[in-house]
Subunit: 170 residues, 2 copies
DNA sequence: AGCGTTGTTGTTATGGTATAACGCTGCGGC
DNA sequence: GCCGCAGCGTTATACCATAACAACAACGCT
């Protein structure tokens, strides 16, 4: 049964030196499609914010994004502009929020339907990976049902150290 | 296997009108023991903060605690005083943090060793309950291992509606 | 074209959450 | 006495997030 759980999962921390341009352009393309589907627009601002978030596999804070965009552009935006862009990206399922860190990360691989992904977050390098976690979420659902609790949203975040960072500190 | 997961669990949202004095005094007594064990002291300030947190089965914000204590006492404390007291209580395992809400709640039943509890948080009444979730955490551990990820801390929080609030809105 | 509706962003201000840095005190051990 | 550590006060600051209102753009409609 642990096996059945593990079998739903694949290691997805990308190698440190991979061609991230591909990840990024894929993600942007999925974003275009997702916004299109909803009759919304991936505006220039939203695209900029997405590019900052999806520019790496790490979780970034809203104010980090703000600072970076401000350094690139001439004028400093208001925080709320970033948050609005992030809200739309989160609503579109392209960006997720790392609740335990008040930070945001891009979803680099589409997962169908609702959010049933385990999130792994490296405390050393800030890298974030998502794993399919159907069995875990079914366990959560069973536990909640036993407590007569109606599940709205379930959140599984694992903080620790990714493989690369474990190797690095040998 | 879903059965084996559910069987590790019992419904623990307390009835709306229970004798909370017992919960509170039990928790304070466990806190005294926990601090004693660590060679630390459950000081008056820490006791006050604990009493605010453990005074209900809901999650409360640090600034809520600050406001309430300030209304009771004469002088307004600095936020950091509350945070320091909370830190010590969290370190002692008597209070937990609800990460998805930036809030704190008391642990009203001791759970042995490390944190392997599923947290259920009602979005209507703010009540929080913890459930034993060994099977879920084993699933998480298996998933993490498959991704070569060293788990530091795993966090399972479920937001939704507790039984009482479901009944209330009928 | 003129109009209303909805989406999007700007602007200003504010609220909410958390910690840094420094100093002082009290207590126990040597 | 002296030291070390736990605990708290004080001040300041950083970080995270949203409210409220104005302006404008895109689109469909008549």
């Amino acid at each position: 049964m642990a096996k059945s759980i593990a079998s739903t999962v694949q290691p997805i921390f990308p190698p440190s030196a991979h061609d991230h341009g591909v990840c990024l352009s894929d993600t942007v393309r999925r974003a275009e499609a997702a916004f299109e589907t909803r009759g919304l627009r991936l505006t220039p601002l939203r695209r900029l914010v997405l590019e900052e978030v999806a520019g790496s596999h790490t979780a970034v804070g809203a104010y980090d994004i703000l600072d970076r965009l401000s350094r690139k552009g001439e004028r400093r935006m208001a925080p709320i502009s970033i948050y609005r862009a992030l809200d739309s990206l989160v609503a579109a399922g392209i960006v997720h929020r790392l609740e335990s860190r008040n930070a945001f990360f891009a979803c680099h691989a589409p997962h169908p339907g609702d959010r049933r992904q385990i999130v792994l977050a490296c405390e050393t390098c800030s890298a974030v990976a998502e794993l399919a976690g159907d069995a875990v979420f079914e366990g959560v659902a069973a536990a909640a049902a036993a407590a007569r609790f109606a599940v709205g949203r379930a959140l599984v975040e694992v903080l620790g150290t990714c493989g690369a960072c474990q190797a690095g500190r040998s």
